[in-house]
Symmetry: C2
Subunit: 214 residues, 2 copies
DNA sequence: GCTAGCGTGTTACTTGCGGTAACTTCAGTC
DNA sequence: GACTGAAGTTACCGCAAGTAACACGCTAGC
């Protein structure tokens, strides 16, 4: 049989693919999300058509690259979410993990979240062409599953968990994006503020004196 | 003096600009966010350089177009937020207003939120090139101001209001985006679920029996 | 040993975009 | 009637994604 042969080839192709992805990673980290296929190919020491043979099109390369980082990020988030501690502590730890990740590697973050920004003169996007920011969808979906598994939400818990999963992820994302751009406070303060929001402080706050209320 | 003259010209230029924007609007509504400058020019019955004279570059056209829709949306949101009712009711009305808007005109929504999706064969983005999704930033900032004005949040209220503003907008956006794609429930259900989240039901929920808690 | 395949790589090209330079045309002014 | 300046045109540049067609190297069968 040619199984060993095919396995051999498969292994070789996989290795090559990993090398290419690492090269692409370096370029994206250096040039931002506007990195061109030519630049990536050059970094990998080859030329464009090979990239296309491996990844189909730019979206394929984007997806493969995004999956690596997303998997890693989700792994840390799961760990934070699963730690043995009070719920509030774990929520804060999860928020902090996410924010620490985007703080530590903003270039990666920008690539994942704002694929079509373009640092060069032209703004050719690095979009997958299909879903909108798959990272967020995946995170939302995972969080939804987690919530539904762990929390007793009464009837309609499935829908509720999904809404909350996507909503919380969106909250985290938007606040993080804004924070990363303006750095108006420390990470710990941001985490605390967001957790306060999730803990219902919005509903509990009093009206401002003299104002028409809210 | 030439004031009247200049005013005359200014008026004419403004009218033309509005016409061009309306043409651009039609094209974006028809072709999605991937609309090309050529297509827009053709729809307006002219050629590219004129667009460039009026809007500088594609980002300028994007910004002008986005501003129109954003202004309109913000106006409705302000109205919902300012209505005379209980806080919870107003929050729900605001969420519902936003969701109704994106539901009614998904093409506009996609243009504003996912400018780089590309309906044609090529995925040239329609990005402004600078900030990420300015609509969300504006909404977050406005909501922050509103919260700070109306709510008594104690010390650090300024930071807190800003974090909450961006966080809530992000929550609304992400949940809305997901909902618009999958339509897993009615709008009213979604509104209720999100309001529940903001009202601290996450913190109040009990652990699921038999699970490790959350 | 020689040739048939197949995977890896190349050069050179097409298409389509954003953006611009240089020319033309036409309204109103002295 | 010549002059100015805005509106509009054609024709082009640069650059990116993506592709076709060709060239090398390796293993397999005769």
């Amino acid at each position: 049989m040619d199984t060993t042969q095919r396995t051999e080839q498969q292994r070789s192709a996989d290795r090559r693919r990993r090398e290419l992805l690492e090269a692409a990673d370096r370029v994206v980290l250096r040039d931002g999300p506007g990195a061109s296929m030519n630049a990536i190919a050059a970094e990998a020491g080859i030329t464009k058509p090979i990239l296309y043979r491996h990844f189909g099109d730019k979206g394929g390369l984007y997806a493969a690259l995004a999956k690596r980082h997303t998997d890693a990020l989700l792994e840390s988030l799961r760990a934070a979410l699963d730690a043995p501690a009070e719920r509030r502590e774990r929520v804060e730890a999860t928020l902090d993990t996410y924010l620490a990740a985007i703080e530590a590697r903003p270039q990666v973050y920008r690539f994942l979240m704002h694929p079509a920004e373009g640092g060069s003169q032209n703004d050719q996007g690095f979009d997958t062409g299909r879903h909108s920011i798959p990272v967020l969808r995946r995170m939302g979906e995972e969080l939804a599953v987690f919530i539904e598994e762990r929390l007793d939400l009464g009837p309609g818990s499935h829908q509720l968990a999904r809404v909350w999963g996507h909503g919380i992820v969106g909250m985290m994302h938007a606040a993080g994006d804004w924070w990363l751009g303006e750095r108006p406070c420390t990470r710990a303060e941001l985490v605390r503020s967001l957790a306060d929001l999730l803990w219902g402080r919005l509903a509990a706050a009093g009206d401002r004196v003299g104002g028409p209320g809210f």
